[in-house]
């Protein structure tokens, strides 16, 4: 019994150490993120793109927006995509076998008719039923295809696209008008750039006029506000920090620009995974490193796309479960890169970090809570220890979240009102009490589902008209 108590004690201390190391690493990452953000903002002001609007000498972009049952938001988001300030781009909406009126709404609103467009079979995808266009909107194409899920739709879109770069976006997101120019900067600054990720921010609560964000507000619901903090912490500063180390592993499926040829060379998006965005990025890393070709995959903190986040617990749970399955699947597929010096800092540093700090964290975190209870019950630790343990774990999470809100303050300051910032800081504190544990549970279930081989997407319902004026 005494040995068991000793073991429990040590495990508790180890778990406590894990919390310190992981959160400490994130705080260090955040510091580098701040450095990188400052640098990136300065660099972006150097190149002028002088001839962008009067010559054909810059890279052109195909925006690919897969849509599945998006009838509520498809017109607004398509209008937003058509209003971008860029000289040479096309918008390809891929209706991935929607069961609602997504296609008909597009046809009616933009007065589309069926056109013939040659589609080379460079990537495998489900058959395309028809392509629609209209000369009045000469850069808009709608592809109607048999359902094959997001990766399949994107592959079909890549086949249809004809520009140098592809910009994969979710059809329920809204891009800021100058976003393509900002993303192009990464390709201008470095000719070896093959992919660039941009920032995804929470649209809930903001007001939009004619496809542009007019007023940035925080979401009105608790769950939305917690996600606003999460998006700042993970998607903005986390990824900018990884960019500093040239080890970015994820470009959000909601917003990323890729070199079309590079994507085709690696075989496009993978069909049988729910983490197709991360998987593609890691496959690009792998391809270029194995071939010994110089390349860069960047994350820029300035270009922003706005996305509607789930405001129901069940939908959010399904989303996070899917993300965890995607992460597990991707790390498993590319396990050969793990701790492999051949892949540089990516293999030695970034992938193990994702394994221990992201993939295994729900197991460790939940075990920590359970073992703490058992240890307390068996008397391996006293109440004071348990309380201190919990307080320390929660406080570390709080510091991390509050720091991310503060970094936002020091850099972008998208939220105008002090009230909004104070509310976000409040949620940065309270997300660690309850939400974090629920989140860990969703992710834990995601791992279980991954082990069971579950590759379903899960139904995602959208609220009506977030982007409507």
């Amino acid at each position: 019994m005494e040995i068991l108590l000793d073991i429990l004690y040590v495990i508790n201390v180890l778990i406590f150490g894990y919390f310190i190391v992981v959160n400490g690493s994130y705080i260090i990452l955040m510091y580098f993120s701040y450095v990188q953000t400052k640098k990136s903002r300065k660099e972006s002001k150097i190149f002028r793109l002088s001839g962008l609007f009067d010559s054909r000498l810059y890279k052109s972009v195909s925006i690919l927006a897969p849509a599945f049952n998006e009838e509520e938001s498809i017109i607004e988001s398509t209008r937003g995509l058509l209003n971008l300030e860029f000289t040479d781009y096309e918008v390809i909406i891929i209706n991935d076998g929607s069961k609602d009126n997504t296609l008909q709404k597009l046809i009616d609103h933009f007065k589309l008719h069926e056109i013939d467009r040659h589609v080379p079979k460079e990537l495998i995808s489900q058959p395309i039923k028809a392509i629609y266009g209209n000369r009045m909107y000469s850069n808009l194409f709608v592809v109607d295809k048999i359902n094959g899920r997001k990766a399949d739709a994107l592959n079909a879109g890549i086949n249809v696209s004809r520009k140098d770069l592809i910009c994969a976006v979710d059809s329920d997101t809204l891009l800021e008008p100058t976003v393509l120019q900002q993303m192009l900067m990464a390709f201008v600054a470095d000719p070896t750039t093959v992919a660039v990720g941009g920032v995804v921010r929470v649209a809930n609560g903001c007001t939009f006029t004619l496809g542009e964000v007019e007023k940035v507000n925080i979401p009105k619901t608790h769950i939305g506000r917690i996600q606003a903090v999460e998006y700042l912490r993970s998607f903005l500063f986390g990824r900018t920090g990884w960019d500093y180390f040239d080890s970015l592993l994820i470009i959000s499926g909601a917003f990323g620009v890729f070199d079309r040829k590079a994507v085709i060379n690696v075989g496009g998006y993978l069909h049988d995974t729910v983490g197709e965005d991360m998987e593609l990025v890691i496959r690009l890393h792998r391809y270029f490193r194995e071939k010994g070709i110089k390349y860069r995959i960047r994350f820029l903190p300035e270009p922003v796309c706005w996305t509607e986040v789930p405001e129901s617990w069940s939908v959010l749970g399904r989303q996070r479960n899917r993300w965890q399955r995607g992460l597990a699947d991707t790390l498993w597929r590319h396990r050969g890169m793990m701790m492999n010096p051949k892949y540089g800092s990516l293999g030695v540093f970034a992938m193990p970090f994702y394994l221990f700090a992201e993939l295994l964290s729900p197991i460790i975190e939940l075990s920590g809570y359970v073992l703490l209870g058992i240890s307390l019950y068996l008397g391996a630790i006293n109440f004071q220890f348990a309380l201190l343990f919990l307080t320390a774990a929660v406080l570390l999470g709080m510091i991390l979240s509050v720091l991310s809100v503060m970094l936002e303050e020091l850099t972008f300051r998208r939220y105008d009102r002090l009230r909004d910032v104070l509310i976000l800081i409040f949620y940065a504190f309270v997300e660690n009490l309850g939400y974090r544990q629920i989140h860990a549970w969703w992710r834990f279930m995601g791992l279980i589902d991954f082990l069971k081989g579950n590759k379903t997407w899960g139904e995602m319902t959208r609220s009506k008209g977030t982007f409507s004026s």
Partner: protein, 372 residues
């Protein structure tokens, strides 16, 4: 170790928790304090900006003397704000007002700051200083050796910015050296080079002879990569350097029939219809018909079919019809598109015997979609 942890764990955790609690409070209060300070600063800066904007506009219009404006500038914040006002106003004004505004950039405080940055150890700061210099009316000739040195740096941002400054202020020979450095710099993208060439043309003041000569000189040197040479050709074409017409046609006519890569030939062929003269047209067509219409490179055949359509000579029709049998869709597509531009040609009756109906429908459909 376990014994030590057993006996000291509570103390260790207590210390950690205390530290974290203190840090949490600092971070929380820091966030509120920073917002409060930033709001104050923002308000103060907005007031200064409003006041200074009025001064600057009056000065630019000639209603206020330079000395009076200078007297208003007391702190470094004033100078920073002045700089941002100039940055905002510059693109929207021209003529004398712009010239007067440009003079403000030469205020000793601003100039001293950027001159210091030019010698900074940080390359990005040097690049920013270079861009500042590019906006001045003139710069000290002693700076050119530094700028030329920077233009040869591998760090593309610095080499780009210094080259931009040399393009604005340098003489022809300095511009040539700086641009050459960029062409040889593998870290600089073709798109960044486009920027420089657009600026290179913009500062010429309308007569492009010297600029065209410089670019043609680069092409003649034959020392750059195929991609860079193709870019130079596209620059001459896209930026309408008609002075280079004869040169480009000669380059095309002297191009080897046995290509080892497609980029240079493709870019030359693309601009032949624009730059050909009556005297050279038949020679160009002959080479297009005999050599490039059956190039092993798809890109070259595509460019050839497009060019033949733009020339619009009936003698090209058999070549275009023959290209309808090409294995590459886009060669067939451009051939079909070009054929359609000839009067009296009924494209729908030209289906190659070997082509299956679905592919033919695909091709015709796409050509017609463009015209519908």
């Amino acid at each position: 170790m376990i014994d030590y942890l057993n006996s000291h764990a509570e103390t260790i955790i207590l210390v950690v928790v205390l530290i974290l609690a203190i840090v949490s409070i600092i971070v929380f209060l820091g966030a509120i304090y920073s917002r409060w300070i930033m709001n104050l600063t923002k308000k103060k800066r907005r007031n200064i900006k409003e006041e200074l904007s009025e001064y600057v506009v009056k000065y630019a219009c000639g209603d206020l003397a330079f000395k009076e404006l200078e007297k208003r500038l007391r702190t470094s914040t004033d100078h920073q704000i002045l700089l941002s006002i100039i940055n905002e106003l510059s693109p929207s004004i021209s003529g004398t007002e712009r010239d007067r505004l440009q003079l403000l950039l030469e205020l000793p405080v601003i100039e001293k700051f950027f001159m210091g940055q030019l010698k900074s150890k940080k390359q990005l700061e040097k690049a920013k200083a270079c861009l500042y210099l590019s906006r001045l009316k003139s710069i000290d000739s002693k700076l050119f050796p530094h700028l030329l040195e920077y233009s040869a740096e591998e760090y593309s941002i610095l080499s780009y910015a210094s080259c931009m400054t040399i393009i604005v202020h340098g003489d022809d020979s300095q511009k040539r050296i700086a641009l050459k450095n960029q062409l040889l710099n593998e870290n600089l993208s073709d798109q960044a080079l486009n920027d420089l060439f657009v600026e290179f043309q913009d500062v010429s003041g309308g007569d492009f002879t010297s600029e065209a000569k410089t670019i043609m000189g680069f092409i003649s040197e034959k020392i750059y990569s195929h991609s860079r040479t193709a870019l130079l050709i596209k620059t001459l074409g896209e930026l309408n350097y008609h002075e280079s017409a004869e040169f480009l046609v000669n380059e095309f006519l002297q191009l080897s029939s046995d290509l080892d890569e497609p980029l240079v030939a493709e870019s030359l062929i693309t601009y032949m219809p624009v730059f050909a003269s009556e005297d050279t047209e038949s020679n160009i067509l002959e080479r297009l018909h005999l050599v490039y219409a059956n190039s092993e490179f798809r890109e070259v055949r595509e460019a050839t079919m497009t060019a033949l359509g733009m020339f619009g000579k009936e003698e090209s029709i058999p070549i275009l019809k023959w290209a309808m049998y090409d294995q590459d869709f886009y060669v067939r597509f451009y051939a079909a598109k070009s054929l359609q531009s000839f009067p009296g040609i009924l494209l729908s009756s030209m289906k190659p015997e070997t082509m299956i109906q679905a592919d033919w429908d695909d091709l015709i459909g796409e050509v017609n979609s463009l015209n519908s």
